[in-house]
């Protein structure tokens, strides 16, 4: 199944590569993880992979240096990119805000049954001893030096995948493999973690975030990984004038940073979960954005990254609305 899809991907990329500037995809770097790969020559196409270990959202590479530094020439060839369902929404959001044009990208859409979070795997298996890993019939089969572990896929999926409503790419030129049915169809299941925290009293919520954000080391990995954090070196957390964030190490600074990050993504965040995936301190940072996504959905009926023609709700207004 996965093998057929991979062959199909290789074939499609091989056909398209002469017309492309480059191809951005994933390649296996260890049994449980992939790494982004940038392909220009046909020899490397065979290293491309897809499947449940391809956790990175590659859309960010289209708008961050070095890609952003040089504006594309009018006759520039398009860039090929592999996207899962959630990644495709980031692409749509970038197209909406005119960071990229639709013609600039050749989209290889990959329906996704969820990605494996290696941190969750580490709860079951000693990561260093893993020899090979594969997913068969919604079970993760891991071989280590002595035994074979079988873990239900649900137990090791990334948190964002558990409430995924768009596993199939919302925008694509080529679709690789068969479409999959979404894990969740409504707000109740998609925002389960948000609702769970919201059900707690105010003081407990504050205590929760104080203890979670206390671990933050302000490495800004969440910001760097976010495909929609596009301020680059104009980012407000690093400006000295005005100096919104100081070098103090207190929790308030960390709170403020995450407030800013979240508010800048309000109505834009597509919930790809990159911020949480890259967090070295294991802070549920995506949860903050999920709450804002939920607010946007309830208040304005808007979900980010579904319609390339739509305008993100905080970048526009409606004079008639009096109840918000």
């Amino acid at each position: 199944m996965l093998e057929t899809d991979r062959n199909q991907l290789h074939k499609c990329v091989e056909e398209a590569l002469p017309e492309l500037d480059m191809m951005i995809g994933w390649t296996r770097c260890d049994p449980l993880q992939t790494t982004p790969v940038f392909i220009r020559d046909a020899k490397s196409i065979s290293s491309l992979t897809l499947g449940p270990f391809c956790s990175q959202n590659l859309a960010g590479y289209l708008v961050k240096p070095p890609a952003l530094d040089a504006p594309p020439k009018p006759d520039a060839k398009p860039i090929g990119i592999c996207v899962k369902g959630c990644d495709s929404r980031s692409l749509v959001a970038l197209i909406q805000e005119k960071f990229i044009t639709r013609q600039r990208v050749r989209i290889f859409g990959i329906p996704c049954g969820g990605t494996v979070d290696w941190r969750k795997v580490a709860r079951h298996v000693e990561l260093g001893s893993v020899k090979s890993a594969d997913v068969q019939d919604r079970v993760l089969v891991i071989e280590d030096s002595t035994t074979t572990h079988r873990i239900a896929l649900e137990e090791v999926l990334s948190r964002k995948c558990l409430g995924c409503r768009h596993p199939n790419p919302v925008i694509s030129d080529v679709l690789i493999g068969a479409e999959v049915s979404p894990r969740s169809t409504g707000m109740e299941t998609s925002y389960r973690d948000v609702d769970e925290l919201d059900a707690k009293p105010l003081e407990e919520r504050l205590a929760f975030w104080q203890s979670e954000l206390d671990r933050c080391i302000r490495c800004y990995a969440c910001r760097n990984a976010c495909p929609l954090c596009v301020c680059q070196d104009r980012c407000i957390v690093e400006t000295r004038e005005p100096r919104w964030l100081t070098q103090h190490v207190g929790v308030p600074e960390k709170f403020l940073f995450h407030f800013i990050h979240a508010m800048h993504l309000a109505g834009r965040c597509t919930g790809c979960g990159e911020c949480e995936r890259v967090c070295p301190m294991d802070i549920p940072v995506t949860l903050i954005k999920e709450k804002l996504n939920k607010i946007m959905e309830e208040m304005l009926g808007y979900s980010a990254g579904l319609d390339p023609e739509a305008v993100p709700p905080l970048l526009t207004f409606n004079p008639g609305e009096t109840e918000i």
Binding site: R159, L197, D198, A207, Q210, S211, L256, M263, P284, K291
Partner: protein, 166 residues
């Protein structure tokens, strides 16, 4: 505003509040609410003295970051006021602000900050009385809530709650 300010008829009798050290930051748009507050002063309407006014060019200038920074660092209340919708000096600034602040208001309690400490309202330059009403009501509300603990600087003392997320 201090008692020496001739435009303020605020009484010194509100000393319990002063002892409590309540601080409210008001972000007022230059064209309407700042004028409204001025009108209230000129008319010598009695107002509480806890509000510190920051003049902004338009509520469209209101970055939620201003509110977040204030509340996280222990300001007891934040009041934002601008021109009435459809009456903005720059035509549309307050429409943008309205969506932004509504979203922010709904977001605050999720992070553990009492949403009652933040209020936004519309007051025009001629509505001195309306301004008096807004300030009085909001100040009363903040006094009722008491000082804002903000976010603790050190985490040593705070309750550790496990995330419970899988």
């Amino acid at each position: 505003m201090t008692d020496s300010n001739p435009r303020s008829s605020a009484p010194a009798e509100d000393t319990a509040a002063n002892r409590q050290g309540i601080k409210i930051v008001g972000f007022l748009c230059n064209w309407c609410s700042y004028g409204g507050a001025d009108t209230a002063g000129v008319c010598r309407f009695k107002q509480p003295t806890d509000l510190r006014v920051v003049r902004i060019p338009c509520t469209g200038r209101m970055d939620p970051l201003f509110i977040a920074k204030s509340l996280i660092y222990g300001v007891d209340g934040v009041l934002v006021s601008g021109c009435h919708p459809r009456d903005c000096h720059y035509a549309v600034g307050n429409f943008y602000a309205r969506r932004r602040m509504e979203a922010f208001k709904a977001f605050l309690p999720f992070m553990g900050i009492d949403t009652r400490r933040f209020k936004y309202t519309w007051v025009s330059a001629s509505e001195g009385q309306q301004w008096q009403k807004v300030v009085t009501e909001f100040s009363e509300q903040i006094h009722m809530l008491g000082p804002n603990p903000g976010v603790e600087l050190r985490s040593g003392e705070i309750l550790k709650v496990s995330s419970g997320l899988k």
